[in-house]
Symmetry: C2
Subunit: 345 residues, 2 copies
């Protein structure tokens, strides 16, 4: 769904990654982020745009601005790292964004994972408004296996229930591969990601059947009906619903963050970012048995191709990344003008 | 699907759990298991039957016998525990069953999880022929959070591929709840579990559409066509497929066990048990931030009921367990006779 935004079909300018990061950083700083937070979010957002994850690229900038301007999130928060146990790190994001919280806890997490074989990072009091795969992929680039979950905001009806409770609650996973890009996936436990509903609404498109319900709980294919009082369904019926429940337990129950239904942003008009928690588990596969892990994952990929699989999870992003690195990141003229105005105005 | 076996509809005798364990243990010992392995598998199988998991209860006994008689699995294997790192335990199941391997590694795993905050148990060279939830639920009863995955045997077509490669590759999760039973789920990443296909075939029932394909890769609702050269599909399309791939990577890549497609049992007619690996991750939630975890999970359950959820994952099993504890485990006369004959003959 997020593959083809009209923004990419009519590009006017090709920006390098550093140029896009700089532009986005300037915008975020103008809207209340510290230089460090702005750089971290800008990098994350630019990388998503570079890799064709349009629902989590520059499309998100108005949301970031809105939520920062509302006073809902602290763009200058200083996350606090707590070294709890040999394989357990906690970070209090201090009502700031999750990415800077991960950034400050990351080194300790990796050190613990390499020493203990596995380690967990529990982030609470955090706002995650981005794709989840950029949080896990770098671990795989260092030869580690990473799993992350993040809960969001009430917009998914648990299977068998009448009303929404869970967030879109994505699960992301990354693993190294010997001769190739890491194997990476990032999947919402809802039928589709919330950003994709927003994109469909902005384009006036209808959704496939089975995606969501309207404010009366009736099935709908209208993305606006889902956004305006309706809700999404879990993917895969009771199974996706069980996984979404697990994400709530890991991200809120375990970290000390909010469940997707617990925060109240009604006094912050314009607030967009869920104030919840995030969990990351990192494993050092060199502690495992048998052959080198990256060789084994390469063998799995080889066999997946042998049974007819054309494209692996994450492969489209890698293809788009290579294209962006070659010619620059395509940004539509109109959007680029808007971004430049936001950076100055 | 597995809820209503005709075996339960026409019971003739009610056995206590110890009586059923003893009977199953006698059968397994007669077919080549050591007393210790037989007791471990019998307990697992009887508990599944007690809790109404009929596809993984006494229904599995002929399969156990067949695979043991074929010489494919070592019913007397002595698993070897390797203490690899402060939070990493490996067990070589030595071509035996996975449950005895978990049993010998369990204490060290729990000790590490409590000390380090999280720990992993990587079992390789193992045969898992049972439900997965009995492996995780006991951790939640001790106040720990547990996640386990196990790969199986090629019978699932990766989303976007033409031919099967993955196993049914279940994911099980368990978490404590303050005033109530642990929250537990166990879901195959295939549309349905292999045991449920076998039960449907034995009852001559058709399956719902979208479950699997025949030997030509064409959609079928005939369970026999799936079992005889056909295959299942992943649940939830590309998302379930990605999770199934993750299970392969964690259970084979990381443990040193076989991928679902790697073992060759053609020289062992009657072999039934996949020779793969299993991963367990155990987290000590007392290391997490905020309120007591079990209180938090109880709050989530309360809210799930508040939005209209009638039955939580695992709740049917707990209900059935209470019923079995009250009146005994219902076993149909004919089946009980068969079991008694197997224990003696």
């Amino acid at each position: 769904m997020s593959a083809s935004s009209p923004l990419v079909e009519t590009p006017c300018e090709y920006l390098s990654l550093p140029a896009l990061v700089q532009l986005l950083q300037a915008i975020l700083q103008r809207h209340g982020c510290s230089a460090e937070v702005a750089r971290c979010l800008a990098q994350n957002c630019a990388v998503a745009e570079r890799d064709g994850s349009h629902s989590h690229g520059i499309f998100r900038i108005p949301g970031y601005i809105s939520t920062l301007d509302s006073g809902w999130v602290d763009g200058r928060a200083l996350p606090v790292v707590e070294d709890v146990a040999p394989a357990f790190v906690r970070v209090d994001a201090a009502n700031g964004f999750a990415q800077p919280a991960l950034a400050v806890g990351r080194e300790l997490l990796v050190r613990k994972a390499r020493a203990a074989g596995i380690a967990v990072l529990a982030i609470r009091n955090s706002h995650h408004f981005a794709a989840l795969w950029p949080d896990v992929e770098p671990f795989a680039e260092e030869g580690l296996v990473a799993l992350s979950v993040v809960n969001s905001m009430t917009c998914v009806v648990p299977h068998g229930a009448d009303r929404p409770l869970f967030g879109t609650n994505p699960i992301a996973f990354a693993a190294p591969q010997a001769k190739g890009q890491p194997i990476v996936f990032d999947l919402a436990t809802s039928t589709i990601a919330h950003g994709d509903v927003q994109i469909a609404a902005s384009k006036g498109e209808r959704l496939p059947p089975g995606i969501g319900v309207d404010s009366l709980g009736q099935p709908t294919q209208d993305p606006r009906a889902i956004l305006e009082g309706g809700a999404l369904l879990p993917f895969g019926g009771h199974k996706g619903s069980a996984l979404s429940m697990m994400v709530e337990l890991l991200c809120a129950g375990l970290t000390g963050g909010h469940f997707s239904f617990e925060f109240d942003w009604s006094n912050h008009p314009g607030a967009k970012t869920p104030w919840t928690g995030q969990l990351l588990i990192v494993i050092d596969p060199s502690k495992g048995g048998g052959q080198d892990f990256a060789e084994r994952s390469q063998e799995l990929v080889r066999q997946m191709h042998a049974v007819g699989l054309k494209r692996l999870p994450g492969e489209r992003r890698h293809w788009q990344r290579a294209r962006s690195q070659e010619r620059g990141i395509a940004i539509a003229c109109e959007r680029l003008e808007q971004l430049r105005a936001l950076a100055q105005g």
